[in-house]
Subunit: 202 residues, 4 copies
DNA sequence: GATGAATGAGACTTCATTCAT
DNA sequence: AATGAATGAAGTCTCATTCAT
């Protein structure tokens, strides 16, 4: 029983997480059995339980993986010079990602996780961490408001919520209708962003 | 025990649906057992199965009930004279409803149903019917665009999607954080609506 | 709540028995629910339980009804003058009955009852009563042997069993294959009867 | 716990089939619960469901096992040189088997299966396969008729049916009365066989 | 580290029977 | 006598998890 290298360990874990992700995307979290995950990952139940203590933990790992890219996008965007640019850059990067066909099927799982998180405390804190990144944007919005590049007619908190809603709502609609016209949505989105980031003080 | 009146039948069904709704809101759809629903409704398993052929059907009935009020709100709003008024009226009515504390707990179930609908065909068509009402608003938006009361810088379809996203995204955030500042969000929302419905032709 | 006349009572009971018989013939005894019997008889569960204390009792009544005609056939046959005539008469009458298309579907229930009787004591005694009529024929066979009209090369008991087997086996085969050639079987049967009832002492 | 050898697999299956057979013989097919089969086989429900997808399939396996020996007896008998010898050999072998006390209790299950097959399509085809072996004997009977070793006064088909009835009828009677005099029955049977297989052309 | 047969609690559902009306 | 909604014990089966090999 030779101990696996860390890289090999990670490979096992990723294999399981991706198998679970695919299964979840196809039949949902609850309809997916551990056997499904075993079959899809090519591992035996015993092997899977070597790397995860239970189904719950696998779901959590999947949830974490789902939020990882969103975090990176936000991080990047927040480094922009001014708020207006940041907002545009963030939405641009985010919707480029949403337009990626390879990710669309798997992103259904994000919605499943949102729902699950309403009912599962551990998952709630994971999803909460992701959502909490909204607060990272708060300062940027506030300084934008101070500098006059973001409207002062609305609360910074509300603005971030609204921005988040525009993303989450779209993700939901895209999950229901994968063929949704993303470019049209982006154009409408630009109007909103422009309204929130006036060229001249309003 | 002579035949129940149609009203009494409906009362039974509603009792079951509401019991299920409460259970779902508390522990989620899958963690809720038929026994839970029986206990909460005060009926025996046999009695529940008198009125619903199975758990699946109860979930569907709950889903349908969830969409009912939204439909009514939209219906009402669409009778407004012009697009701008309609849009404002619709959001006003909708967010009045979202502000109702009595409904907030149960509305978590809407999110659960959204997720479930990605994975369950029958539910998908029920949710789809609800979402499809967005298309009812399309004509109103289009005539608004013709009349110059709605911006022509974005596609009518995209505008309705965006409006829907602003609601769905908020529902999601409210489900996660019941104490979210709804009034602040409404004010930010007004900016968006104003941007979409210019006072003078743009 | 006027008490029914005895005739009306019997009508109710027969209605239930026949409904049960039809259901049993179609789906078997166990797959038939009391609801099935209610539907088919046009009575409510309460009404059925007025006339029978339970499903068990209905099955027993059906079993009794099944054996009634056989008993009559045997009774008649046993009144014949001599054994050889009696045997021929009995088989003739019995197979005339078996040839009646109206009875064939319902006779499947006889086989179901045979099986059930192996496992249900009350039913066993009912079926046993029917089978025991075989012993009524024993004396006739014995006196036939004494008179030289029935072979002495076999035990009277065995002869009655064999005769019974020829009927029961056919009933079974007819239940499986309703289109079985009954006339051919009767001709072969004649050979057997002839062998058992020699024209001259053997 | 590495993969079971095919032999070990078969052992599991047989253990379950035999446990079911014993239970069926005691209380009937429907009164036997999966728990009964589990207890008797010494396996847990999960283990049983590893090897059979459901109760239905276990019943079918039991039915198949019941017909297996009959098939072998018939096969053997059909290899005899001439029809008369074959018929005698077949009945001899068959009734030797019927006389085996070890088998008598379990053979009650054959009757249960006959009944069930009237009402369950899958079972019908299994039992049908067993019964259909009667047709294998048809050719032997026909050539016997051509050679003058089997009576021409009856149809070959009817003769095989009659022979089958003599067995099935006895099985039924033995199921009801285990102490039935099998030797007496065999002597009476010899008379019948002699009648069907005349020493000189008739 | 890995295997996969086995475990067993518990889920959904059925259905013979009852009883208030 | 009859109705039919309601009861609830019991049945079949699933599936996350374990552990001997």
């Amino acid at each position: 029983m030779p101990r696996l290298t860390p890289a090999a360990e990670q490979e096992r874990r990723d294999r399981i997480i991706n198998a679970a992700l695919d299964c979840f995307a196809e039949r949902g979290v609850h309809a997916t059995t551990m056997q499904d995950i075993c079959r899809r990952s090519g591992l035996s139940p015993g092997a899977v339980y070597c790397w995860f203590p239970g189904k719950e933990t696998i779901i959590e790992a999947v949830a974490r993986q789902r939020h990882q890219h969103e975090r990176e996008l936000l991080d990047t965007a927040l480094h922009a010079a001014d708020s207006r640019t940041a907002l545009h850059a963030f939405f641009d990067a985010y919707f480029d990602w949403l337009a990626d066909p390879a990710e669309q099927h798997r992103r259904r799982v994000s919605v499943l996780v949102w729902a699950e998180s309403l009912v599962d405390d551990r998952l709630r804190s994971i999803v909460g961490d992701g959502i909490a990144q909204r607060t990272l944007a708060l300062d940027a919005i506030r300084s934008g408001q101070a500098a006059g590049t973001v409207t002062r007619h609305a609360d910074a908190d509300a603005i971030t919520r609204l921005a988040l809603a525009l993303i989450q709502g779209f993700i939901l609609q895209q999950a229901w209708e994968p063929e949704v016209d993303i470019e049209g949505y982006r154009r409408a989105l630009d109007l909103v962003i422009d309204a929130l980031t006036p060229r001249q003080a309003d």
